[in-house]
């Protein structure tokens, strides 16, 4: 809005406008309530200031008034709650077909890797008009991925993946901040999100030096570590078939059913006996200490790709991986 003295960041995502709408409502509500209380205090102070001969009137209270000014605020608060909750639900539910970008945070930088293999440091290039989902983990302490222009923020934790998604609506360059104190250069762990028109984004993708798609490097790692020994797709192996497993429910031997999301895949590699698939024995060895966060990211991307009919991502077509 006010170009020279902005009061809020440029809204650059599909969700930003909705967040701003609730914010403006709250500003008006808070402004109105503050003004009301302020005005009443000033009015009472003036009208009922001490004058000799005037006595104060002893008023006990008023139950109807108490009920009213308890119930009305409560009702308004419930409206705000529902509105905020709906926004949050949408913020935390990424669309199924979102493009994934993998993020590894460390003191004091952001490492990002696109599925097509492009790596970036402290910068994220994305095309306008697409759903982008970030799958993030930290190599050390808790960080937080914050893009004010998109109105999104998500803590990035060591030991697990957290996700955040957005839908850029406006080409431009926007701040990326770390928003969870992480040590000496916390305020230096900043960067930018570059939103490009689709054609420009294609150009950027093609121009970059890549080492192959993330899923492809995951595939070669999968081979190197010997995973196909048990995880076969042709016949029943000693381990579950991984084709089509990502995103689907998995029945465990203790009766629980869990969804095979990024965290499940990661945990299965690092702590295989935490969740045993029904019908299989707990014989998978752990790879804790044998794979880095970047390698885990690649393996997760590979397993994911086994569930995609064919590459639907923007950019050069990735050949359907075969085991």
């Amino acid at each position: 809005m006010f170009d020279n003295f902005p009061l809020w960041p440029v809204p650059a995502s599909s969700g930003a406008g909705n967040v701003d709408a609730l914010f403006i409502f709250l500003v008006l509500l808070a402004g109105f309530m503050s003004l009301a209380i302020f005005t009443m205090i000033v009015m009472f102070a003036l009208k009922y200031r001490y004058r000799p001969g005037h006595k104060a009137e002893q008023i006990e209270g008023s139950v109807p008034l108490e009920v009213t000014w308890s119930a009305v605020p409560l009702a308004i608060f419930m409206v705000i709650f529902v509105w905020g909750a709906i926004l949050y639900f949408r913020e935390r539910t990424p669309p199924r077909e979102a493009d994934a970008v993998y993020v590894v945070a460390k003191q004091w930088m952001w490492k990002l890797e696109h599925e097509q293999g492009q790596k970036e440091i402290n910068e994220l290039h994305v095309p306008v008009g697409r759903d982008i989902k970030l799958v993030m983990t930290s190599q050390d302490v808790i960080h937080s991925f914050y893009v004010p222009a998109f109105r999104i923020k998500q803590d990035v934790l060591p030991g697990r993946y957290t996700t955040v998604w957005f839908h850029p609506t406006r080409p431009g360059v926007y701040h990326l901040f770390c928003a969870e104190y992480c040590g000496t250069a916390h305020s230096g762990m900043i960067g930018q999100v570059v939103v490009l028109e689709p054609a420009q984004y294609q150009a950027w993708l093609a121009g970059g030096i890549t080492s192959g798609s993330l899923a492809a490097s995951g595939q070669s790692l999968f081979q190197q570590l010997g995973c196909p020994t048990c995880h076969r797709s042709d016949v029943q192996g000693r381990g579950p078939n991984l084709v089509g497993v990502f995103g689907k429910p998995v029945e465990l031997e203790d009766g629980r059913t869990v969804t095979a999301d990024e965290n499940y895949i990661r945990e299965s590699i690092l702590s295989p006996n935490a969740k045993i698939v029904s019908g299989f024995k707990p014989i998978m060895p752990t790879f804790q200490g044998l794979v880095s966060e970047d390698q885990l990211t690649a393996l997760v991307a590979y397993i994911k790709s086994l569930s995609q009919p064919s590459s639907g991502a923007a950019g050069p077509a990735t050949p359907a991986p075969r085991i």
Partner: protein, 232 residues
């Protein structure tokens, strides 16, 4: 004459802020109960952490639990329960004015308390020898070897033992404080300070001791009895 209000007040050493001895007694009692409430919250935080990790890391917790000596643990439980009995009987003795009996019961309580601490020291020594003390020299190898059919994660096992030492350690610290309190009570009982009209310190000291006992009653099954049936 020993019962006249003035005499009782003098005996109890009625503190100046109280109106009468009744108020002083009630205040002391309420104060101790409130303090024990804070202790419940203190141990509660640890119990909370324990319950969460036990739910998540059941195999490691079961293996760690089985490595504790159940006989020593059971003995300690019996020791503490007996000590609570002697405390309760001691309070009764004070109420009835039986000074010698009171001193005897308080001494017995001390013996039980020290026995508990001694057995605890033995258990901790065992853990030290087995390299189950968390830190640089921790090793879960023996447990991993002992249970080849399940996968024991050393880091998760160390969490079990961290909580084991934190919980039993803080409990032992409270026991040591309790022993100190009871030394004080024993000495002044022997000196004849406590009478049927005034034995508030014995009562509230007893409350404290019972509380430390109850904490152990929770610790014992949680730490020692996770899974004592043979592992399949």
């Amino acid at each position: 004459m020993a019962d006249s209000p003035l005499a009782v007040a003098h005996q109890e050493g009625l503190h100046h802020q109280f109106v009468d001895v009744e108020q002083q007694r009630n205040a002391a009692s309420l104060g101790m109960w409130v303090f024990l409430g804070t202790e419940v919250m203190f141990f509660g935080g640890m119990f909370c952490a324990y319950l969460i990790y036990r739910y998540w890391y059941y195999p490691e917790f079961a293996a760690g639990s089985r490595s504790l000596d159940i006989w020593l643990g059971t003995t300690n439980t019996a020791v503490l329960i007996c000590s609570s009995l002697t405390v309760a009987l001691g309070v009764r003795a004070a109420q009835m004015g039986k000074r010698r009996l009171l001193v005897l019961l308080l001494l017995l309580t001390l013996v039980f308390g020290l026995a508990f601490l001694g057995i605890k020291a033995v258990e901790w020594h065992d853990k030290f020898v087995e390299h189950h003390v968390p830190g640089a020299s921790f090793s879960a190898e023996d447990l991993i070897q002992a249970y080849p059919q399940i996968h024991i994660d050393p880091a998760r096992t160390q969490i079990y033992f961290s909580l084991y030492f934190a919980m039993t350690g803080l409990h032992a610290l409270h026991m040591i404080i309790g022993v100190g309190i009871f030394c004080y009570l024993t000495y002044y009982s022997w000196k004849g300070r406590y009478t049927p009209q005034y034995h508030t310190p014995v009562e509230i000291g007893g409350l404290y001791w019972h509380f430390v006992d109850i904490i152990w009653i929770y610790l014992f099954p949680l730490l020692y009895l996770i899974d004592r049936k043979p592992l399949k």
